[in-house]
Symmetry: C2
Subunit: 442 residues, 2 copies
């Protein structure tokens, strides 16, 4: 069955309409001109990182593989295209049989990237490769933007766990993908059930202010919560007066109280006060969770505070100021004729207003210095220099239409944490700066 | 059948897991405490508009209604919750029977809003109303953010049509909702096929740079496109040299050429040059479409240029700097006991660090001055003053679980354009400023 997993409780048919109209009109014109089956190479890259960022994080690759596998035009899709006159009958007939049979290579998911890094390379006929443009970019641009923000937050948090809580501040399905990307970037858990359902990410949460307000008193609310969720629960202590609530929380749950959560106010000040009060009450193992409009800077500013975990919402799911990764999908080489044996010719748009592309099918490697620390992202079109042949970044993801590159999300997360930790130390600075590795073209 | 329409080629089951874990643990604790069926009123509002914005745009209400209708826990969802130990068996049993049976009122979709405007009010038992929090906020926060950006762009564009082209820069399903929200805000069309499929929004598009690069020459590419799509097509003229491409475009298609598209460079300069060249070549009716990283300011800067249509991508789907509308869903009143006859009591969290809420079930009206121009957003909790009773903003959307408020998207779009045009003229300024109407609480 032709199904796509979109983070829903069930799979649903086809990703083929997550596509711009012009991909299909180009297909129609190329079919008619006899150029649709020219062998073509498209590459995904970004011309620059978001201002001040030191590195990017490849995320969404696993979702791209699902989208490619399920990119089929069924009866409903074809009827729509016919009814709207999007394309002609020969094109509809071609689409009815379509499945991607080309090759895809790319940076493994979780890897870091820099301006010009060819993070995905799609090869096949022009027809089959051009069709994937929109959905591939949608996924990579969204997921990589969230993962990059998550990674910076995770650097700022150090060993303290980060909880993703942003579902309410982004589109309901973008939220599921955002939880996944946040996990890749170093988060530990999510508030959102669909992300737990789909990706097995641990879900967390206990109560909101509304639960306290529902009851006749804070005492009633805390008692109700502890009765139901146990003493290990997290009580929200900033509905009325924090000091009184902390006192009441320990009185209600005892020193076994799992945690208290603070969701407003001066978190630095409050964390110190609440820690002192908890310790005084004997609740020395009760943890403090903070969750109020955090970003990487706010997290870093709490490094010396007695905080045990951070919950992050809005700023995470919106990429902390950069909600899209600005990746593009460009034709970089194609054959001169539909003859399958015709050689590939590099192509590129002429630069105008900074929209530079470099033609040619590219390899990429990360050059190490004598200490084994990466010193440059090397991108080339010709022979790979012998000294770089062990440092190549791209791996096969799809071969002849067959999906090869699926892997568990924990593998992806571990890869990211490892790749990040190998970077020069300045990559970990939150302050604005240039990409931590220069990109060299050879 | 229990299905939800998410902008996909087909409907899929249930929106119930687009929900934060804590909604369910609160439900469990309240069920056990006997407080779950206390009559409760939740309201959706925002504490402030994005910095500098003059008004907000309510968008997503129609999608909220679909989400509410399809918020059901089926076997897959319940199995997941049981397996993960999210809630206990009595709660699972309660969820298995759940459907929302309460009432929802709200600002009609497309209406403008201001800080504190109660744009949605959900009434029912605490249990049924709290469950909807996450998905309601996801939808309204995303869609309203995009619609607000679209509305400003549409003000800047005046009578010239705006085309939404941002699918590749946002999550693949957020893209479908973004097209819808952009249409509400005043856009005319979308590049994305799924948005055409789901919402009947006109889809547009012809070709990308890759199509030109695929062919042996620009002439071959233009010929292929015109042969297939007709002389009325839009040719992309900035792959190599714009002047040469415009010459070639008119030579290929004749003066009947529909349009040329410029996607890079200095658009103001280029538009003037290209217009002069087209006129000189006799292609006086060939239109000029521009599409390079536009936002409301870039659109406004082209007001005096000979541009016929704008295509907007990244900045639209990311809310032009404000990708979420920062709406919250707050318990504002609840009964003191589960007795259905118990009166409602206003409740509110104590203000701490600016998180102000005002308790009580609210009405809202837009007070007009003597000229009939709105002068204030009036929000109140008591009796509606007689002079405002004709200006009330909220309408019934759901009654006893039955969806009342469905309407065609064109009705919503027309409502927005009318509501916007009634605002004081300063609402149309792009420059930063305060909300164009003050919010008064009575």
């Amino acid at each position: 069955m032709n199904t796509a997993d979109l983070g829903l409780p069930v799979a649903v048919p086809s990703t083929a309409l997550f596509t711009d109209h012009y991909e299909l009109t180009m297909l129609q014109a190329a079919l008619r001109a006899g150029t649709a089956d020219r062998r073509s190479v498209f590459e995904v890259f970004t011309r620059r990182l978001p201002e001040g960022r030191r590195y990017g994080v490849v995320a969404g690759t696993g979702r791209v593989l699902d989208a490619v596998e399920n990119f089929r035009f069924g009866a409903d899709e074809l009827d729509f295209l016919r009814r709207q006159g999007v394309v002609d009958e020969p094109t509809l007939a071609w689409l009815a049989d379509f499945r991607f049979r080309g090759d895809i290579h790319g940076y493994p998911e979780g890897e870091v990237y820099f301006p010009g890094s060819p993070i995905l390379r799609v090869e096949g006929s022009f027809a089959e490769a051009v069709l994937l443009e929109t959905v591939v970019l949608s996924i990579l641009n969204h997921d990589s933007a969230v993962a990059a923000a998550a990674s910076r937050m995770s650097v700022a948090a150090g060993d303290r766990p980060l909880m993703e809580m942003g579902a309410r501040r982004t589109h309901e399905l973008a939220a599921v993908a955002a939880s996944r990307a946040a996990y890749v970037g170093g988060f530990s858990s999510t508030s959102e059930l669909a992300a737990g359902f789909r990706y097995g990410i641990p879900t967390i949460g206990t109560s909101a202010h509304s639960f306290t307000l529902l009851h006749d008193s804070e005492r009633d609310a805390f008692t109700a919560q502890v009765d139901s969720l146990g003493r290990g629960t997290t009580l929200l202590v900033d509905t009325y007066d924090v000091t009184e609530a902390v006192r009441l929380a320990v009185e209600t749950a005892g020193p076994e109280l799992g945690a208290v959560r603070i969701d407003s106010g001066d978190l630095l000040l409050m964390a110190h006060r609440v820690r002192a009060q908890l310790d005084e009450l004997g609740a020395t193992r009760t943890r403090i969770v903070v969750t109020s409009d955090l970003d990487e800077y706010a997290i870093a500013s709490l490094a010396a505070a007695p905080v045990d975990a951070y919950g992050v919402g809005t700023r995470l799911v919106t990429g902390s100021g950069h909600p899209t990764a600005s990746m593009v999908y460009k034709l970089v080489a194609r054959a001169e004729s539909p003859d399958p044996a015709a050689p590939l010719v590099p192509v590129a748009k002429k630069s105008l207003g900074g929209k530079t592309s470099i033609g040619g099918r590219k390899w990429a490697a990360r050059r190490l210095d004598e200490q084994g620390v990466p010193e440059a992202e090397v991108v080339g079109t010709g022979e790979v220099p012998a000294e770089l042949s062990g440092e190549l970044l791209q791996v096969p993801l799809v071969r002849g239409g067959e999906i090869l590159g699926r892997e568990p999300l924990d593998t992806v997360r571990d890869r990211h944490l490892a790749a990040r930790s190998r970077l020069p130390l300045s990559a970990m600075q939150l302050s604005r700066g240039e990409a931590v590795l220069p990109t060299e073209y050879v």
